[in-house]
Symmetry: C2
Subunit: 423 residues, 2 copies
């Protein structure tokens, strides 16, 4: 006779099923990367099921632990660190200590993937450059992030997001014509570079698996991404337009710019009570839906006359509320939207429908209450499943002992650097 | 006796070697996607070595063929289409015709991956939803892009980039406090969603390969990404800050905003002759390097006093040239950079060092000259190799006959829709 499952049993069963679906389950990643780009790649690999172990220097760890947004800290680490490093483990190692380096080499020999974002030359000095690591583990996928590649005059330029934006030309795409360069207000270069790195690592894993199937060849790889190359790729539409259009520089519209290469009405406009985004589409139906004959121009003029058209449109839209306009635009099936802020977004049923919110928890230590961070999940769904690990970012060195005991042979746990890893 | 290789033989050999390194060589992707997000995923998979075949409707094809930036066209297709679809093939099929649908089903039975971005419900009507396709090919990786997920009040909202930006809150991060929402001036939601889709597809391919190794189980997958979820993930730092900080909305600085959650000096400033980006770092050394005692504040005030500090800094930086300041900042190892535009970037030795420019060519047709498009390459390097296929975007239906003759059984080439595929 079978017993009906309890609600908890059903939940557990669903969770176990979800875990078994994780596509990268069974793969191990060693993350020597700090700050955002490399760790963002690691976060995604962890979300997809890989075991990601941060290799951190004793005492301070990933420098991101002490880099705060708005001076916000959780349990001794910046909230920023928590955001990027949830769902990972932490192993402390002083790469200048032969003892610790030996432990790291043993881990590398067993790992599937490693990532680092040291400046060019540093890994060679330590002896963990690709050639050396490949000798330990010919099948490893070695991921490397740099600011601007490995040669040329910017090799030693700091690989920081705003600076990568500054040298990529991207500042001339946002904002209106009379503004100076307007940077994108978040770490776009880091995030793109991290996603590209993860892509390259995954592609190399696919190749490794396929090579094994086809005869057992060992195929590791070195995968390199850089902030600069990612920012260039990000602008591939604009740069291709520039390159094939007599190198005419992007020219933002005077008002309501949202894309330097697209004509009116493409932009965000103020209404009587708020804001409205109007995307692409023919001008005639738009003019009719809004009751605005002034913008009823020929579509062939949408780019060349965009300032005049946008000025008329902006003036007209200010006379009524967003709701008023949205009703008319929706009725005419014109591509438009209200503009929301975080308050409106997070309370919106459409946001709740995608269930992007995620709570992660650090277990309590020494009897203290456990700590919870509210954050967002991996944006992918596989077989309808959302990946929602509730494991928080690790304390510095939290997993050192466990990893030494389970993955390392003949490890002596009494060592100088170990003392520093305790919280 | 061995002959020395000619220069051409050496080049061919190097090229063949490069091709054999392509990590996704041997995999086939069918791309039902249009516009940017899905095709951007396809572009990256093609760059990494997959054979990507666009499945396009006879007559008009991917709607992006007729969507132009700045009214620029090449050989009958928009330059934009060329940018996104280089290195792919084109197969024409009318999904409403049983004959064509049968051909597509045969292709699906042989494919490794497919992607589409039809609105929710469309693929079910055609009979190419995941359940149906899985029945044809249990191991296929089925990639799906939507605007806002598959349920909730935004399911039928147009999945367009600016609208996805509008409903994600991202407009409140760029520009200065007194501006309204400032959209990012490029298709950020599409690009992120495309990279996420490619990540998920690659992760599913890794799992499929590993499952085969471990006992031959057939493990396909449905991978879903959406513009909204990608935009939420993109803002994970800001949203986590908001969620753990009493839901305080992001507040841009009054001047030189570059990140609503970071303090002074983080921003781009006007100099006597141009612009300069100054990133993060302590205020004392910055004040000293610039000879600007007014900004020599305590670092704990860098966020709370950012408007005052940035105002003083902006005033000071306007008194000298970018070169003047950069010499001082570099000497003090402070994170700063000149700001470049596309002209300066593309002529810069540092840009030439990363070799991102790429020329692609469409072979001549009917004796006409072949057409060349200047664009940019895949941002990744694997084993030091850059991926530089020179294959241009396909003409509509360019590969239909070849694919019918080589991949389809008992195919009759005389069919009504075929006539429309010719150029």
């Amino acid at each position: 006779m079978t017993q009906p499952m309890s609600a908890m049993q059903q939940t557990m069963s669903a969770k176990q099923h979800a875990a078994s679906q994780l596509p990268l389950k069974g793969l191990t990643v060693l993350e020597f990367s700090q700050y955002l780009a490399g760790p963002y790649a690691g976060l995604r690999l962890a979300d997809l099921g890989a075991r990601v172990i941060k290799i951190e220097r004793p005492g301070s760890g990933d420098a991101c632990r002490s880099l705060a947004t708005k001076d916000l800290w959780v349990d001794g680490d910046s909230l920023l660190f928590h955001t990027i490093n949830r769902n990972k483990e932490s192993f402390c190692a002083d790469l200048k200590s032969p003892h610790d380096l030996n432990a790291v080499r043993q881990l590398l020999a067993q790992a599937d993937v490693m990532t680092h974002n040291f400046r060019p030359g540093v890994m060679e000095k330590i002896g963990l450059d690709y050639t050396s690591v490949k000798a330990l583990n010919p099948q490893i996928i070695y991921g490397e992030v740099s600011g601007y590649g490995n040669e040329g005059p910017w090799v030693h330029k700091p690989g920081q997001d705003l600076l990568a934006q500054a040298v990529s030309g991207v500042g001339w795409l946002s904002g209106n014509r009379k503004q100076g360069p307007v940077p994108l207000g978040l770490a776009i270069a880091d995030m793109l570079c991290g996603t590209h790195l993860a892509q390259g690592i995954l592609a190399a894993l696919v190749r490794r698996q396929r090579a094994r199937k086809n005869g057992g060849a060992v195929v590791g790889a070195k995968v390199q991404a850089s902030l600069l190359e990612s920012m260039v790729d990000f602008q591939f539409e604009g740069l291709t337009t520039y390159l094939n259009n007599d190198r005419q520089l992007p020219d933002r519209s005077a008002i309501a710019n949202a894309h330097a290469f697209l004509g009116a009405p493409y932009g965000i406009y103020q209404t009587k009570d708020h804001w409205i985004a109007i995307s692409m589409g023919p001008l005639g139906p738009l003019a009719e839906a809004l009751g605005c004959p002034a913008i009823n121009k020929n579509d062939s003029e949408a780019f060349s006359q965009r300032d005049a058209i946008k000025t008329d449109l902006a003036k007209h839209l200010r006379t009524q509320t967003t709701d008023h306009w949205m009703t008319r635009l929706n009725a005419a099936a014109i591509w438009a939207s209200e503009v929301v802020d975080y308050d409106q977004l997070l309370d919106h049923p459409a946001f709740k429908a995608v269930a992007m919110e995620l709570q992660v928890s650090r277990p309590s230590q020494n009897g203290e209450t456990s700590l919870t961070v509210n954050t967002t999940r991996c944006p992918l769904r596989i077989n309808g499943q959302r990946f929602t690990s509730h494991k928080a970012a690790p304390r510095l060195g939290e997993d050192t002992d466990h990893i030494r005991n389970t993955l390392l042979a003949n490890s002596t746990t009494a060592h100088s650097s170990q003392g520093e890893t305790a919280q």
